[in-house]
Symmetry: D2
């Protein structure tokens, strides 16, 4: 049986990544692709690497007949996404890749994103899309909110430790290094090759990155108390990849065992042998996340490192994993592609 | 039905690329992996990006029992390859990725590679692995010699034109730009990141690159006369990719039509709309080859450009495509992965 | 004695490169910097790498008092440049880095740039800025037109050969590979890091690149007849660098001797030992140009390769070299910086 | 007056960087260059980017007559360096770029480097080369030990804070991101372009990096008590650059003021406006270090970030700065080159 899907915002990187993944998925058929600014173009014009595929032409959202669509991926900018989704048929299954439905609290949303939410009721209905921790809810959900790519990476290493109570909740530092594609296909001077390719820097310094809203929401809920971490992202001259280096206070062995046990049966999360660290190059183009744990030379402190591909496991791969669950398809379908190295 | 395969030289880049491709191939099972210098290691140690796969441990070639193997990929250095292959069971199907069986003439081999060939009889038996042009012979072959990655790229644009007689045979220039992985995983100063990453240069200047042996052999045979092209490769700071820019004398429209018609039914060769050029970024990680044709401002001259991924279509993807044919499997199986962009 | 200079268009890459070079020049003082869209900002805001320098704040052109300025560099977009320069004091020495005064023939200008020239008289007055070949005229010039960066590279290898009559004028092919910074600091999708960094392609295929106007003008004048070359540029994922591979028909030894003798006394042009090729990495950040000559395996054909840094010798370094001449300063002042490698 | 200098180990990256810097230094003359494995080659063969310079041929150390040398730079591997230096004339001024004389305590040396020190007396004599903090001692020193590049970067942000007592000494985390050239010109698989260029990872996890020996020595001495920080370096796909992100507990404003005041008169250390962060791209190819301070969202915590070029300010630039002091030359001579961007 084949399910028909639509992708809104198909001319961005997460849209293209969805198409790439779905291209070898046996149970999904791409029935509609929207891209308002490039409507009328073929997907081969927007993304020549997909030219071998037989795909619908890019249209505006208005032109799509949703009656035959089983599930819709929304890869639109935040704020736009909530407006579009609010106007979609109310029985349509939706996987949203934007930030719009990640935060359950309207005030938190407004604090981090600067505007009042336009679909507060749907905000409550949405299920947070971190598959490994919301799997059952996602299976029954109508609207799933894909996590932030940085937020996913950080949670993979920190959630189990907070849950298990093996680390000090007031002393968590997350130093994150992310690739360029996370910023999307937007025309900004600081994203030009000539600006970026030979240097790197920290940004959103001091705890101002929006993905902190997700950390605060999720970690506090797990802990049953307010948890606020320190989080500094850095922009690295590589297209894909997130490497999150977590500094925690706790016994490294307990930290390792907690993570190892949590992910023992997970198809996409690989906990490396104790003492080894992961690399973004070894998950590139794939839905895998590699995690490593090392004891610091100072007793009682551990370093936990996670690597994933921001466009895949951090975004479109996660979205497809969730869509599989929502449609009753085996969760790993279309997602077992091996990383591309070198 | 599943066919058992072995990969000799699995710790190099083409070996790893074979494993990546075969990982999602429904009809092949990897039964043995050899890597003499890393024997005893797991594949995850040699290539951590493959750690999610359940693979045999790396062994020496001597340790492999070939009796249960249906087909063997040899991803060994040239010269070593001919010695190893000469000692393998004579009924074993073999796809060789080295240079050892590409040239049918022992003198030509010695001229380009500097040593006398150690398996002259097998040299005669081997079928040249450029799938689109040797498909029928490959189906029945026992030993297939994978083409050079540069040689494949150049032939995709030039073979049909020579065959059709639409270009001047004495005035062919091929200016080629190749990525770094083509040089393999070898410890050479000029392959270090710090040496390579911010510059580029021509090498093997003046017609000294070994892949010219293949061009000479194939083009002369097609033309029924001696054909010698000019060929200059350049090393570009990108890991994957070959871009071949061909300068030919002939009518651009005839050139275009010849190429368009030649590849009209080919699953992996895409001829772009007339006047457009390809990019290596749009075939990266895939088995596709994109070809473009443009008329020069000087009448009677055309520029023909091809782009492919040296590790995939230029080497391991081609090898798998040939193995599929040799095993009676649909030729495209395991090879329809979309390129990874960005 | 110190000369006061102004730089118009200081917020672009060639403007910043001028400031970098002039920073260690003992005879020049930067008296004014303009950047219309960033007027009011400090140079440290536009280019933080220059923050250690004591520089004038960016202003609009109107705000500059040119009465105390000895020489003005114009690093503005073409078309804008001719309008601005036409309005400057008529006794002000000017080095223009745009395309506006490179072509002496108004029709040729309109053909390649698509608009009628707005300062036809000045077009006649301007001296073409290829220092090594127009040195005497530049010394006495009021207005010097900096060459195109690709045009400079190609001319360094081809001019002496055309002049000396050692190559076939009807069979010249120039395959050029240029870095990203040549496209400037402009917000275009195809210049984003995520788009560019892992691939490369040919552009302006078929003889449509504007720098052909310069080749046609200069080569035809030298030859005393119409000369039209084939020219294909390629965009390479590196920030700085141009590598020009020239395919010519002529005796390689004669080609080599012609180039060697032409540049024997030039401070910035290095002809490598016969048979060696240059690399962009070895001229990066400097005003040097390296040239190599190799005989092809086909008798009577040679390959000539030149490498330079597009922002320096191809643009701002050349501009400073010319300014030195115009101001009676030693030509190499401020320009002997060694390349930065790795 | 010109001082004659020798560079031992001139065929490595720090040797080449010394030559690059000294090339425009008016007071130094390169009298001898050694490179045991490349003895007999010209510097242009080892480093073609220096071919425009008139330099002595590479020789073995034994071939050098040190009687006319005023100062010798040793850019040799650690362990070799101490053996070579122990055999040099005892009145020769020496700037050592290796790790051999950084640690004053022979036990600490053996702990971090694994071998007993072969020149314990000289170890005591050596002055630690962090110019801004050992300036007076360096002026009178005979043997100066260049700091580790990571160690220098970390100390620039942490020394003043420890000295001033404005941060908690038991809660210092240094997350560092360094470029590839820091690993030198060594033939290691993990330094190949194909391995490195598209990914990044943490290494020496858990406090095992040797530069911790320097941090321990210096910070403990300043504090008058044992200070041990957490330190995790990451390898980033860029050739030059170190970005050190320090997580400290203390009032951000006090942290900022301490750093601002400490470096107010330093020619090479630039403290950015409060709240801004530095980037490695803005110090590339230069001797500058940029420092930024930001308050975290959690009260009482600050993030301090430093950027410098590992080959220049982190190694060869620092060495030249120290040599200038030892020779009575103005400290900034030859070092005011502006960064190269883009």
């Amino acid at each position: 049986m084949t399910h028909k899907i639509a992708i809104l915002g198909a001319s961005g990187y997460t849209g293209a990544e969805l198409v790439r993944l779905i291209a070898t998925h046996p149970g999904l058929e791409i029935a509609a692709l929207s891209a308002n600014s490039k409507a009328g173009q073929t997907m081969a014009q927007a993304f020549p690497h997909l030219r071998h595929l037989d795909l619908p032409t890019l249209v505006t959202i208005d032109e799509i007949d949703f009656s035959g669509i089983d599930l819709c991926f929304c890869a639109l900018p935040h704020k736009t996404s909530q407006e579009v989704i609010a106007a979609l048929p109310t029985d349509l299954k939706i996987v949203d890749l934007s930030a719009d439905f990640r935060l359950r609290d309207p005030d938190a949303y407004e604090k981090w994103y600067g505007n009042a939410h336009a679909a507060v009721e749907m905000q409550k209905e949405a299920v947070y899309g971190l598959t490994e921790f919301y799997r059952d809810a996602i299976r029954g959900a109508r609207l799933v909110a894909g996590t932030g790519c940085n937020a996913a990476t950080g949670q993979y290493i920190l959630r189990p430790l907070i849950q298990a109570g093996v680390i000090d909740l007031d002393e968590i530092i997350l130093d994150l290094k992310c690739g360029v594609s996370g910023a999307g296909r937007s025309l900004k001077e600081n994203l030009l090759h000539a600006e970026l390719s030979e240097g790197y820097h920290a940004y959103a310094l001091g705890g101002t990155h929006r993905h902190l809203g997700e950390f605060d929401q999720e970690f506090s809920e797990i802990a049953g108390r307010d948890v606020r971490i320190q989080f500094t992202p850095h922009l690295i001259p590589a297209n894909r990849g997130i490497l999150a280096t977590g500094y925690v206070k706790g016994e490294a062995k307990a930290v390792y065992e907690t993570l190892f046990n949590t992910y023992a049966d997970e198809p996409f999360i690989e906990v490396l042998p104790y003492g080894e660290g992961p690399s973004t190059r070894h998950v590139r183009g794939s839905n895998f996340c590699h995690i490593g744990v090392v004891a610091d030379r100072i007793d009682g402190r551990a370093i936990v490192v996670a690597a994933l591909d921001n466009l895949c496991k951090g975004s479109s791969g996660q979205a497809l994993q969730n869509a599989n669950l929502m449609l009753g398809i085996d969760e790993t379908t279309g997602l077992m592609l091996a990383p591309v190295f070198p």
